[in-house]
Amino acid sequence: MHRSLKDDASPDARSCGAAEPSSESGVASLIGGAATAASSPCVASGEEHPSSSPLSIHDMTVAYHRKPVLWDVDFDAPEGKLIGIVGPNGAGKSTLLKAVLELVPKASGRVTIYGAPYRRQRRLVGYVPQRESVDWDFPVSALDVVAMGTYARIGWLRPVTRKYKDAALAALSRVGMADYADRQISQLSGGQQQRVFLARALVQDAKVYLMDEPFAGVDAATEKAIVRILHDLRDAGRTVLAVHHDLQTVPEYFDHVMLLNMRIVASGPTRDMFTRENLQKTYGGRLTLLDQAAHAMARGIANSE
């Protein structure tokens, strides 16, 4: 499943390896502008990405202002696992999630959810953004925020009826926040706000969850509560990818791990991949060549015109 990591020496892994900065498709599309799945040798061979995978990322490159920040990410998420995304600041962890969700444009590559493009499978994917990404002074209650998770099901122009509010309340109780349903969200502590976000994801009843630092700035009790809920989700066959910062707790919380630093350094079962050597590769500075290439591309394209 984790083709790119199966074996660094195997020829097919090398030909579309995640850490190959010179892989044709990403670079070509950045220069030529035309990103086609067919131009990638990896994606062309369909059996490489099993359609049963909850999330397949096919050779995805993401650039801001034409400067690549994520190179050739190729990844299949195993179903029903908790997957930790780990890497230094600026490694592109949040960008990876946002690119999957089409919140930032991809320079190349494509994403499938259970074998179909993300756009058609939106309803199967739940997203927990970083807590700081929203304005907590907004005049809504905790229940209002959680109910937002049902909006896709409700559909355009229809009001939020009793049924959906009850579902939201049930999700709030699941994270131990039922007593705070009517509180304006600015009156909640950081941990409580994070629980509200989690409840909002739960009420979406998605199959794949993408969480951006769900443990950031929460108290010990909330951390335990979140871990328990993640385990419940896994037991129910859901797949969770979570950006995580605390290396200490990675082996305890996550079955699988993706080590990221502008490219996938390693990914696979935590016990195999979460090694000192891999961590050193991830955190031991950026690949200078990648940086140089990215700068050259950003500059070169700007100058040539």
């Binding site: 946002k98 969700l101 089409e102 919140l103 939106r122 994917v125 997203y127 953004p129 990404s133 929203v134 304005d135 907004f138 005049p139 809504v140 209650s141 209002d144 925020v145 937002m148 998770g149 909006y151 896709a152 409700i154 355009w156 122009l157 229809r158 009001p159 939020v160 304006q184 600015s186 909002r200 979406q204």
Partner: protein, 442 residues
Amino acid sequence: MNWSSYDTWIVLTGALCAAACALPGTFLVLRRMSMMGDAISHAVLPGLAAAFMLTGSRGSWVMFAGAAAVGVLTALFTQWVHRLGKVEESAAMGVVFTALFALGLVMLVQAADDVDLDPGCVLYGSLELAPLDARSFFGASVPRAALMLGAVFLVNLVLVVVFYKELRISSFDPELSTTLGIPGGLMHYGLMTMVAVTTVAAFESVGSILVIAMLIVPAASARLLTDRLWLTLALSVALGAGGAALGHVGAITVPTWFGFVDTGTAGMTAAAAGAIFILCLLAGPRHGLVSRFVHRLGLALRIAREDVLGLLYRLEEAGGARRARAGEVASLMRSAIGGGGTVTRLAVADLRRRGRVRSRSGELHLTPLGREDARKLVRSHRLWETYVARHFALPPDHLHPSAERAEHFLSRDMRRAIEDEADLPTRDPHGAPIPERTKESS
């Protein structure tokens, strides 16, 4: 004050204008994009001017569409300048809207001979003239501006009600909104269109500068009064309309007090909106300065009451040799904890009323109820000192100040937690007995 139906129509037109602006304005404020309202209201000017030049008349659909289109383009141009020029967003906005506004002014001056619109109107509109241009509406003669603004208000109201859920989520969390199939960008430009159309409709009445006051100020005031979105919307409509009424009354009365003739209604309306904002700032229930002051006063009184009880308890504890004379409490308080004065006298009176203390032959005594309260307080104080002594490297004489503060805020659970952690201490670090937990005071 001479009130006529003329005045009623002015107020009504102004109120409809404010109400129409308040709806999209609330979302601008909540999205922290108030400046965008400013930018759009300025930038519609070249669209208006072009339409004036083309059709030679006001109130045509061409004018509406042209100006609204330029308004939306402002939002788009701002994004482009921001991204392509790598200019900070508010700077990009400044570049775009000042350029468009200036272009509009130039066009207006050029066309001034052909159309009945002068740059002064751009500044503050001509609300007073609204009743002069009336249309027949179901048999009644209604100012054209009132009809137009009424229609825009209704359209805005319907849009906000119908898209309530979509506006809420895309304003609060545009990214999540997009992943749920409600594109944040689409909602953004939808709202910008609403702002542009509303500004165009309001332009003749209040001009393109004062309309900003109608977009932003009522919404900012309403935000101070409530934490509910629908109530914020309702209140900003009401405050906007109220400001318009107040503004007109103010315009025809206030200047006469100072010997001037009456002044422009639109200007006074914006001033009234500002006054309402200040009022909300002072009197808001949770964020208001008055309520904060009352809350602090209540807290100060509670602390003083508890300090008096604590003082009497310690005097009793000292063996009853010392009794506090009623008038003496204040000076004892002053020497014990630095308090005293009016608040202490108020606190003593309050304690008497609540049956916590009573005077006997000129001396203050704790009643059984008061003693129970006092035990709780002294227990908190001494447990806190015990706790601090265990965890901080501080000499014993440094324990008192923080305990003086903390004693008023420890809950039952916190007292128990300290007690359990310190293995049920009986004496504090100074050797004074810690009152035991009882049924009433734990």
